[in-house]
Symmetry: C2
Subunit: 384 residues, 2 copies
C-alpha cells in the first residue's frame, strides 16, 4: 500500500526548502506555520477563520485533551477532525513538554512519568505506550513521540540523560505505534505518522547524537526538533538548528516545535525547517500585542487612540476593515471582539510570512528576501 | 425634502403587524429583533457575523460610549457606523436607564442627572440637551430621548413623577434635537430620528397619560416603550403593552426597549410591537444558556457530554456544524469559541424568530402560529 504521507521538496535555496507534505487529510505547502488548538480550539478562532486566513495544518495537545475532555471521549465523537470540525491535517504534541513542566507534581522514571493533573490533582501516568494510545484515540495525522524535555539552559549531563531516554522511549513508541496501526484499524485516522523528536538542549554533540540515534532506529515520515525556544538564547537555538540541519535526511520534513516568533520562523526556514507551531500569535493577541512587518506593537498604546488605519497597511487578514482606534477601544473596554481580531491578525501574519518565504525559495531569492525582512522587522526596536 | 425615515405597514393580523421601517442606512423589515452592541460591539460578534445571521439594525448605548471611548472621539472617527464598521441602521439608547441605575452615585434634578462614572468615579452630568449632543456625535439613525426611568415595581406616585418629568425632558430634547439638525449639518448622520419613550411603570393610567402627552408634543417618527422588563411581573408587562397599543398611532413603528426573551418577543408582536432589543442573547450565551424551540437550555449540563447533534435540529446559525458535545467541551475548558458560538446562536434565534413571526403575520396565521410556538417553547418547563 502506498503511504498517504509523502514529502516532495520542489525548490531549495541555500539551506531553505519549499515543498509539499501530503497527509491523509490533505496537502501542506512548506514552509508552513501551524496554529495551535491546544484544547481542540485555536483560541478565539473557528475552522472557517483558519481556512480563510490560509492555515492548512493545525496542532492540538495530547496532555490537555487527555485530561479534558478525554481522548476516549474524542474518539467516541469520531476523532479530533470531526470533533472540532477541521478537515485538514492535524498534528498532536505528545504532552512531553507539558508533563515535564509540572515541576513538583511529577515523578520521572524509565517507565514513564507519574503526575498530578493541573486541573483536579488526580494521579495520572504517561508512558510511551499510553501516549501512543492517547494519540491514536485523538486521531491526528501526525503524532509526536513521548519525549523527556528539559529546560533550555540545562547542563550537558542532564540534557544527555533526557536525550538518551527520549531515544529509548522512541523505540517503545514505535513498537506501540506499529502494533496500534496493525490492530486498531477502526481508529479515527487509521494510518498516522509518528515523528521522533531530536533533543539535546543547547549541546551540539548531543543534538548530533540524538539525530543519529533516531535515524539508527529506522526511517521516519518526518522529524521533530524539540527543546528549543524554552529559555535558551536565540543564537544558541540557531546554532542547534545548524547542527540538526546537517544531520537530518533532506527528503523528510522537519518540524521545529513551539517556535514561534516571526524572526525565528525566518531564521528557521534558512536552516532547513519546514513546519512550525506556536501559541504566541493567539496568546499575545489576547494581551493586545500584534505583529507588523516593522516589529511587534501593542494596540493598547495611546498612540493609536485616533488612528484610522488598519493594524498594518496592506494586511489581508479579516480585521483590515477595522481601524486601530476601534480595536484599541475594544481592548480598553475588554470586548471579546478585540482579542479575536488580534488573534486572527497574528495567526494570519505568521501564515502569510511562511507563504512569502515559500515564494522567495521558489524564486531563488530567499537570502535577500530574508535579510531585508529581518532588517525591517528588527528596525522597530529603534522606532518604538 | 422627503424624510429618509418611512414606515409602511404591509400586513396586520390581529394586533400584530408586518412592515418596513426605512432609515438613512437602509430598510428594516418588522417585526425585528435588534442585537445590542453596548460599547460599539455586539459582544463576541463582528459585523459580518451579524449580517450572516440576518440582523439588519443594531443598538449601541450613549451612556457607555460617552464614558468610553467618548462620543467626541467616535465623531472624530466618522461616527458609530464607520467606527464599528456596521453599514446598517443603528439606534442609540440615551443612557437614561443606565444613569438611573447608578443608585447612590447619582443626583436627580429637574435640570438633569449628576452622576459618577462607574469606571473612574469622575463627575458627569446628563441633561436632555447634553444627551442630544452625545447622540448627535455618535450618529445613530434613531436616537432615544433622555428619560427618567424607575424600577418596574415603583408605586404610582414615583412612576408619575418620573413619567411627567420624562415628558418635560422630551420637550427639551426636541428643542435641542431640532437645533442640532438645523445647525450641526456635518454630523456623521445629518438626519436622525428622535424617538420619545412611553413611561408610567405598571400603572395603566400613567401609561395612557404618557402616550397622550407624547402625542400632544407633536408627531414622531417612531415611539419607544420603556421601563418594562425591569423587575415587574410578566402579566403586568403584557397589560401595559395592551394599554400602549391602544394609544399609539398605528402608522408609526413601536419599539419595546430592553425586551427580551423569546416568549416576550412573541407576546410583544401580538400587542403591536415592531422593534425589540435585549442583551439577553449574548449575555446568556456567555454563561452557557442557549435558546431552543422547546425552551432555554444550558450547554454545561452533563446530558450533552456525548451529544453529536447541533444546538438545535434545523437551526441555520453558523454553529450548526458543531456538536453539543464539542460546544460543551469548549465551555468546560473556558474556550472563547464556546461563548462566541452560543452568542451567535442566541442572536440568530431571536432574529429568526421575528422573521418567522413576520411571515406568520404576512400569511394571516399569526394567532395560531404564536399559540403553537408559545406552547412548544413553554413545554420545556416540564421537560427539564
Amino acid at each position: 500500500m502506498t503511504s498517504p504521507f509523502q514529502f516532495q521538496t520542489t525548490h531549495t535555496d541555500g539551506g531553505a526548502r519549499a515543498g509539499v507534505f501530503t497527509t491523509p487529510h490533505g496537502e501542506v505547502a512548506t514552509p508552513q506555520f501551524m496554529p495551535v488548538g491546544t484544547l481542540a480550539s485555536v483560541k478565539a478562532l473557528d475552522p472557517e477563520d483558519l481556512t480563510r486566513l490560509g492555515a492548512t495544518m493545525i496542532l492540538a495537545n495530547a496532555y490537555h485533551l487527555r485530561l479534558r475532555p478525554g481522548d476516549a471521549m474524542i474518539r467516541t465523537m469520531g476523532g479530533l477532525h470531526r470533533f472540532m470540525q477541521w478537515d485538514g491535517p492535524i498534528l498532536t504534541d505528545s504532552g512531553g513538554f507539558q508533563v515535564f513542566s509540572l515541576e513538583g507534581l511529577r515523578t520521572i522514571a524509565e517507565e514513564g512519568v507519574a503526575f498530578r493533573s493541573h486541573l483536579d490533582g488526580s494521579l495520572q501516568q504517561f508512558t510511551p505506550e499510553s501516549v501512543m494510545q492517547i494519540e491514536r484515540n485523538l486521531g491526528a495525522d501526525v503524532i509526536m513521540q513521548f519525549d523527556h524535555v528539559v529546560p533550555g539552559q540545562s547542563p550537558h549531563e542532564l540534557a544527555k540523560v533526557a536525550m538518551e531516554r527520549s531515544v529509548r522511549w522512541l523505540e517503545r513508541c514505535r513498537v506501540a505505534f506499529d502494533r496500534l496501526q496493525a490492530d486498531d484499524t477502526l481508529a479515527p485516522t487509521p494510518v498516522q505518522a509518528l515523528f521522533p523528536i531530536v533533543q539535546g538542549g543547547i549541546h551540539a554533540d548531543l543534538r548530533r547524537d540524538s539525530a543519529r540515534a533516531i535515524m539508527n532506529c529506522g526511517d521516519w515520515v518526518g522529524y521533530g526538533v524539540g527543546g528549543l525556544s524554552v529559555g535558551e538564547a536565540k543564537p544558541d537555538m540557531y546554532a542547534m538548528l545548524d547542527v540538526v540541519n546537517g544531520e537530518l535526511p533532506t527528503h523528510r520534513p522537519r518540524y521545529l516545535m513551539g517556535v514561534g516568533f516571526p524572526e525565528d520562523l525566518v531564521e528557521g526556514v534558512a536552516r532547513g525547517i519546514d513546519l512550525f507551531d506556536c501559541v504566541a500569535p493567539t496568546r499575545m493577541g489576547r494581551t493586545g500585542a500584534f505583529f507588523t512587518g516593522t516589529g511587534r506593537k501593542n494596540i493598547k498604546n495611546a498612540q493609536w487612540r485616533l488612528d484610522p488605519a488598519p493594524l498594518e497597511d496592506g494586511c489581508t487578514c479579516a480585521g483590515t476593515r477595522f481601524s486601530k482606534a476601534y480595536i484599541r477601544h475594544l481592548f480598553v473596554a475588554e470586548e471579546i471582539l478585540g482579542l479575536r481580531l488580534l488573534s486572527l491578525h497574528n495567526v494570519h501574519f505568521l501564515v502569510a510570512l511562511m507563504r512569502d518565504a515559500r515564494a522567495a525559495v521558489q524564486a531563488g531569492t530567499f537570502a535577500g528576501w530574508s535579510r531585508d525582512w529581518l532588517a525591517r522587522y528588527h528596525s522597530s526596536k529603534t522606532m518604538s
